[in-house]
């Protein structure tokens, strides 16, 4: 069985031989995190409310790296905050379920969730400075986590923390252990934050834009570190980012979010070689690529993320979509199977023909992956 959690009706794709992306699925049929129909609504004063996340389904299998891609306001960060129980209670309504290893995180008692956080569940944020306590040394912040989740002697905790810092690529870890966050550079702080997150060998690591605040050369270091750690420790990871480039190199499966809903889900090869949803398609097309020919004009997505309609009336992307038709104006556009492990929420999805004419010379090599997914 490959699709244990998929709610959309299967269309006989199950029995198709699984190639690369599905391997883990075969090995571990049970998802580690299973988010079903998650909705987050913020209510403002005077009865107004804003649905930031609107019926989101996704799952993460052990050892898998799942990407959530979206622009600001797409609800990608709110999704992770809701899963981690980090949203304020007041003015926020969370519906649906998020089963971690079978138990629902959303209805879990607070103490139990706190015990889970930092233990089996860990998170890395965009801004390492604000997520580290500025008046406590790096070492203390690490050993605190270790003591909170395990019975461990002070010396062992110290040794383990220093070892972890070393593994996270921090030079001279014994000295850094006694330093305060402000004494570290941005890249070092992010490494320290990752080291803290990994202190108790979490089974799931949620990274919310972990490299956005960093320079590209530092970003490359941190991404490399994450990839290695995840591979070595077998940790599952959710990578939340707006950067398609980060997703392309890192994730096994990718969820694309727009205006609070997942509009496309695919293995990364299929997502980039044959994007189906018009938003994904447009996004991949509009990004200037280093390996692109310079005289090739960019094809932007028109309008701004603010040009939107509620999902209850039409496709939220419809006002910006060049392929909008009357059929897009409906309250129920399902996330439909469009290929193996590939789903898109689009009435008029991009065809292979469009994808192949749009792709640049370099992307032509992506055809292999595309054929595989068909």
């Amino acid at each position: 069985m490959t699709d244990t959690t998929d709610k959309t009706p299967d269309t006989g794709q199950k029995n198709i031989a699984v190639k690369d992306a599905g391997q883990k699925a075969v090995a571990d049929p049970q998802p580690l995190l299973d988010v079903k129909n998650l909705s987050v609504t913020f209510s403002k004063r005077k009865g107004e409310s804003f649905t930031a996340v609107d019926g989101v389904d996704f799952d993460v299998r052990p050892g898998e790296v799942v990407g959530i891609v979206g622009e600001s306001g797409s609800g990608k960060s709110v999704t992770s905050m809701a899963v981690m129980g980090l949203l304020p209670r007041r003015g926020v309504t969370i519906e649906g379920e998020a089963r971690f290893d079978g138990t629902d995180l959303l209805t879990m008692p607070k103490q139990e969730l706190t015990r889970l956080r930092g233990g089996d569940l860990a998170m890395v944020f965009q801004d390492p400075m604000s997520s580290l306590n500025p008046v406590v040394t790096i070492g203390k912040q690490m050993t605190e986590v270790l003591h909170a989740h395990r019975t461990i002697s002070a010396k062992d905790a110290r040794d383990e923390a220093i070892d972890l810092l070393r593994r996270c690529g921090i030079p001279d870890p014994a000295r850094r252990f006694g330093e305060y966050p402000h004494q570290l550079s941005g890249g070092m702080r992010q490494r320290a934050l990752i080291a803290i997150a990994l202190a108790c060998q979490p089974r799931l690591l949620i990274c919310d834009e972990p490299t956005t605040a960093l320079d590209v050369t530092i970003q490359a270091q941190v991404l490399e570190l994450l990839t290695e750690l995840v591979r070595d420790m077998g940790t599952a990871m959710i990578m939340i980012t707006h950067d398609l480039g980060v997703v392309a190199g890192l994730c096994d499966h990718v969820n694309v979010m727009y205006a609070g809903r997942i509009v496309e889900y695919a293995p990364r090869e299929a997502l980039f070689a044959s994007p189906r949803h018009r938003y994904t398609h447009g996004l991949i097309d509009s990004i200037p690529r280093l390996d692109q020919r310079r005289d090739q004009r960019l094809t932007p997505i028109p309008g701004t993320p603010a040009d939107t309609v509620p999902w209850s009336r039409a496709c939220a992307f419809a006002p910006r979509c060049r392929h909008v038709t009357d059929a897009c104006v409906t309250d129920a556009i399902p996330l439909e199977e469009v290929g193996f492990e590939h789903r898109a929420r689009c009435v008029n999805p991009a065809s292979d023909a469009e994808n192949s004419t749009q792709t640049s010379q370099v992307m032509a090599s992506g055809q292999m992956a595309q054929e595989e997914s068909e």
Binding site: Q296, R297, L298, T299, P300, P302, G303, D307, V309, R313, A314, A318, P319, R320, C321, R322, V324, T325, D326, C328, V329
Partner: protein, 314 residues
């Protein structure tokens, strides 16, 4: 590649119908207009505004509203050391210990508080604007000089200053005004300077400079107007303290020498002796002071919130 337009694609009629319900604001909303809108929706601002309006109109219309003359002590004969005559149709709130009509005193007291409060705040504000504005506009050694002057002003206790001023100019309302204003100058000066320094580091100032605007124009028409809103908020809040200070200083006997001029602070003194037998003599002016100060504070705080950049987003 196909389209180069930045415009949104054409919408089918059905989508346009859905979109059409989103109201498109054709007219722009300036920051002040937006702040005004938010103020109108804020209950605290409405309550504060009503109190302040009431206070101002009472102060202005005191001669029309008051049943008697404030200086009249013609009913002194009815007052005995142990008792006051009860309220009557002629004196709805009764008499004060000196035989004046209490209601009249309260109404005229508003007038006195308003005049002294507003005038002293205006003096303080202008002094602060000049010191802070010059410091913020020029920076460098001018800034240092201005701030040292402010430090000196700050080091003089307001009460001591009030007494000294009163000693020099005599016991006149002007002494009160100068004393209160002097205490306010540093507040406004520091606030404006800080605000201007913050604005000066904004990109739009650099943008104006790169466009070739003159420094004077940049300071006068960009930096200053953007720095002024916290000062306006502070002025409203300061009015509240000023009114309390007026009362406090005249309670200490630093107000007008003429005992017949109605003033809330002095009414407290007058009522003090009969606190046990006639508590309303102190209570009523006390409430007037508190409510007026509350009104200005509420208004000031809502103004601050309405002008806050964080709440500006729509």
């Amino acid at each position: 590649m196909s389209s180069t337009t930045h415009e949104l694609p054409e919408r089918p009629a059905s989508l346009a119908a859905v979109m059409g319900e989103q109201n498109v604001d054709e007219k722009g909303i300036s920051l002040w207009a937006g702040a005004w809108r938010r103020l109108q929706r804020d209950p605290a601002a409405i309550i504060g505004g009503i109190i302040v309006l009431l206070f101002i109109s009472v102060a202005l219309a005191a001669p029309l509203l008051a049943p008697h003359q404030p200086s009249s002590v013609e009913w002194a004969g009815e007052v005995t050391p142990s008792s006051l005559p009860p309220a009557s149709a002629d004196h709805p709130l009764g008499l004060d210990p000196f035989g004046s009509d209490l209601l009249t005193q309260l109404l005229y007291g508003a007038r006195q508080s308003l005049i002294i409060g507003v005038v002293s705040t205006l003096i303080g504000l202008s002094g602060g604007l000049v010191l802070g504005g010059v410091a913020g506009a020029f920076g460098g050694w001018v800034d240092t000089l201005m701030m040292r002057i402010v430090d000196i002003l700050l080091s003089i206790p307001a009460l001591l200053l009030a007494v000294s001023v009163a000693a020099i100019v005599g016991r006149r309302p002007e002494a009160l005004m100068i004393a209160i204003a002097a205490a306010q100058v540093p507040i406004f000066a520091r606030l404006l300077r800080g605000s201007m320094l913050k604005q000066r580091n904004q990109d739009y100032v650099l943008a104006s400079f790169s466009l070739g605007l003159r420094r004077r124009t940049i300071v006068m028409s960009h930096v200053l107007p953007n720095s002024i809103s916290p000062v306006i908020v502070q002025a409203t809040l300061t009015l509240a303290t000023a009114i309390i200070e007026v009362a406090a200083l005249s309670y200490l006997g630093l107000g007008a020498p003429d005992p017949t001029v109605a003033e809330w602070g002095r009414m407290l003194v007058k009522g003090q002796e009969r606190l046990a037998s006639a508590p309303h003599l102190t209570l009523l002016p006390g409430i007037c002071i508190a409510v007026t100060a509350l009104g200005f504070t509420l208004l000031g705080e809502s103004l601050r919130e309405a002008l806050d950049p964080k709440s500006r987003r729509r």
